[in-house]
Symmetry: C2
Subunit: 330 residues, 2 copies
Amino acid sequence: MANIAVVGAGAVGGYYGARLAQAGHDVRFLLRRDLEAVRARGLQVFSPAGDFHLDHVNAVATPEELGTVDWVICSLKTTSLDAAGPLSAPCVGPNTRVIALMNGLGIESRFSQWFEPRQVFGGMAFVCINRGEPGVIHHLDYGRVSIGHALDDPAENELLRALLESGNIETVVAPNLRYARWEKLCWNIPFNGLSVAGGGIGTATILASAELRATAERLMREVVLAGNADLAAAGSEARLDAEEVIPRMFTLTGTMGDYRTSMVIDYVQGAELEVETILGNPVRRARELGVPVPAIETLYAIVANADRVRRGLQPVLTGADLAQPRPVHP
Amino acid sequence: MANIAVVGAGAVGGYYGARLAQAGHDVRFLLRRDLEAVRARGLQVFSPAGDFHLDHVNAVATPEELGTVDWVICSLKTTSLDAAGPLSAPCVGPNTRVIALMNGLGIESRFSQWFEPRQVFGGMAFVCINRGEPGVIHHLDYGRVSIGHALDDPAENELLRALLESGNIETVVAPNLRYARWEKLCWNIPFNGLSVAGGGIGTATILASAELRATAERLMREVVLAGNADLAAAGSEARLDAEEVIPRMFTLTGTMGDYRTSMVIDYVQGAELEVETILGNPVRRARELGVPVPAIETLYAIVANADRVRRGLQPVLTGADLAQPRPVHP
């Protein structure tokens, strides 16, 4: 059994941490919003794979209380990516392995500034999961984690696979981490992005609109082009196959009901959006590579603006504005 | 002096009709919202070119009251394009000329179904203008009208130019109507579209955001490509020059202050957006021509959705939705 620290235990970290704790690992959760509730009542997971409850949860408020562990699962929102190093560092010793269980691009490069690259992994969770009231996690569907090691070491990947599978977590070792990141972006860019650009809509609304659906497909095609150029530039022979990935993403999404993406939940709640890691970094990487991604760029501009608007950083016009007499000679 | 009927006298029709009336033409206005105010108090125009007031305005509620005229200026919102024929027809005789003073693409083809093509003109107003309280029009800046005849008859264009210039309206005869439509779309697509996709923002906000500004430029480039393909397909030798048009549009917009596009005003007021003529028709024409317009397509999908959302036809998620317990096993 391993010692595991979950840093940033929102829906994703809470769920996977709970699965590993259920399997008998010593899991310690660094919590903020749910700290008191989890200390008082434990952690409740509702899941199609079986509901369960952890009665006694090692929940702490500061990283120093976590102690040095074998594995860190860092599942902070990437809007707090700068804090991931300082928050994880207190539990990282020379033999600790750190999994960045986050969406977006440009994640492991940051972790490799804080820790030895040989200690760093990336993970992408294909899971439908939402937080409920404090201490409650609603696992709705799926749960597979796609993993990769920062140096693409197969032996290291097998260690992480074994850990996750011990918690009954379906695990896929990606051809490489870069591939896994772009594959996940094939879903995150269209569905997170359009759910916000659409003003706060679920996945079913995107699929039901011919134009939004076509836009989602166009976005995926651009992600595949940029991702394959990135893989080629890195000397990898792995490639995303648009004719395989795109139908798979649509089929997957079609079974989700009117799923609320993590980004739309943040948007509705007025929280900061993961716009830079999910949209901005892929756009910037595509530009570096000279790959045109006009649909992604358009979506990025609109979602970044929506983020500013929702958080009150960018005012929008109101009926009261229109009723104001305008300067006649501007 | 000519008899002129203004069908759909909003900001644009009201302003140009008032200019022509000021010059002594017999102008009759078909009004809806402002009918009573204009009958009671006339029409007030505030303008940097000189404020003026029309004391006695021939304002009517039904097209039958307009009588047969020399010129019809049809300046309905294109969301009412289907009504333009029936509303204009009562004042169209065999010698009447009809100007579709509207934005977007696919306008004259409709008018040419209702009237003889030799009777049909198109006009695009480059003007910053907003309606104030009923009976008041705020002309803010500019005012040039770019015109074309449905059959590109130079003699006909000169007749329309003479009419407009008699009202001190700066008039440019476009190389052809198709050119004029696409040129205007170089402004309308980015600025109308992004003002709505941005959640209700003015032109200054678009220019101030590096990403939105870059998106506006990208949209213009796609408009130029599609427009030039459309011109070539029609056998015209006229071409839009991106290197001339794009800087001109940005320079123009930079002098407008935080201008509120007609589409953003509709959006804020919850009125139907001119999304199909300004975005949908250009996208469909580009598809017919095989010209990729991914940024315009993305914007079209987002603005069409925003239109549905704003008019209550497409619900969006709220905090209350998120607080609802989710079905655990979807």
